[in-house]
Symmetry: C2
Subunit: 203 residues, 2 copies
DNA sequence: GTCAAGGTAGACCGATCTGTCTACCGGAAG
DNA sequence: CTTCCGGTAGACAGATCGGTCTACCTTGAC
């Protein structure tokens, strides 16, 4: 059936590869998903995969790029901006977005962290890439902190990200309410930063 | 040479297996360490390993037990109790212990989290075991919270553990100062819990 | 009609994985 | 002296890994 349709009306082989690789790598990480599974599930010839990507490593790097586009930018950043307007409210809205994420029955955890922990060589390209994507998320937080005129936005963002990451792992380990707990931490952190900011402004 | 010594004066095969498995699984996780490597590094015959442990899975479960004994109990809990006496100070001392951990050149990250993220099936024995060991750490925090007479010790412990885990991952991703940042968060959390406690006591 | 591009199906390679098995060895206890 | 236990050395099986390759097919452009 499918083969009868004109090629341009169907998802191309590359699109199917990217889509299935995203599904599988997001859920299971990179290491435990073999190329054979990607090939079988995307209904593509093995040779086709290797004509688009020279190695599994490059496919994984492309996946991480896609994850940043779909998860970080489209889902997290846009979701946060849709939920609140003021920068400080947007910071807290991160945990509202997380809350709906953690309660999904198909909650899969954070692919960046998963892939980061899979690679213990700090020089490995995949590990370096995940660290870059984690930095991208932190940059988003730092920008919100700057817009909220908080002191030491970089330090604030690093603390905020500790809470974000901790809550994701806690949720993965079974704590459905991890986002609520994290939000409370965020409120404390935000209040403290504002006190410091006001204190400094008075000097 | 070694074979010439009486058997009882040398580390037994089992001890060598346990020791090397601990080294390798702690650093690299379970999945990416093959039994052949454990066999080779411990200088033991493959058959000997399988006479002590019926499968790699059982070896991994024994490793997690050992990790709880060496890391959680001996290193973390005793380290904390050595550094401070009052329960609230001991809570904060967790991050002092973490700080020296994160700054070690051979910092290996948290094996429990690593192994947890390696297994996405929630029913898998290894995953269930890691969740148990994570709960053990949280119980330790909860007991300190109870001793400090903080309200809602379980909720407090879960928030505290979010910070602990987040800082470990942040350190693993390259933030050497993650423990200092986490300790600041802990100070805020502790102060807030005390305010709530005092507020409730006045009612 | 021809031809190149891109795709399919699947055999195959060498390496590595967990786990089993045979054959042998050395020391301690009877 | 013999016997048994715990161990060594390493071949082997069957599965799976990433990656290559041949042979064939379909579509669109010319």
């Amino acid at each position: 059936m499918a083969a009868v349709h004109p090629r341009h009306l169907l998802p191309s082989a590359r699109e199917r590869i990217d889509h299935i690789a995203y599904e599988l790598f997001s859920r299971h990480g990179v290491r435990s998903v073999g190329v054979d599974v990607v090939v079988a599930r995307s209904g593509v010839a093995k040779k086709t995969l290797y004509s688009h990507y020279p190695s599994k490593e490059k496919l994984a790097l492309a996946f991480l790029q896609r994850r940043e586009e779909l998860w970080t930018r489209t889902w997290l950043q846009e979701g946060v901006k849709r939920r609140a307007r003021r920068p400080a409210d947007r910071l807290l809205a991160i945990f509202d977005v997380f809350d709906s994420w953690f309660r999904r029955s198909d909650f899969e955890g954070c692919a960046f962290i998963k892939v980061l922990l899979e690679h213990d060589d700090p020089a490995h390209p995949i590990r370096r890439s995940t660290e870059g994507h984690i930095r991208t998320v932190r940059d988003f937080v730092r920008e919100l902190a700057e817009e909220a005129r908080l002191p030491d936005p970089e330090g604030f963002a690093r603390q905020w990200q500790i809470v974000m990451i901790g809550s994701i792992i806690a949720a993965y380990a079974g704590d459905r309410d991890a986002a609520r707990r994290a939000k409370k931490l965020g409120i404390l952190l935000l209040a403290d930063a504002r006190i410091r900011s006001r204190g400094r402004a008075q000097i």
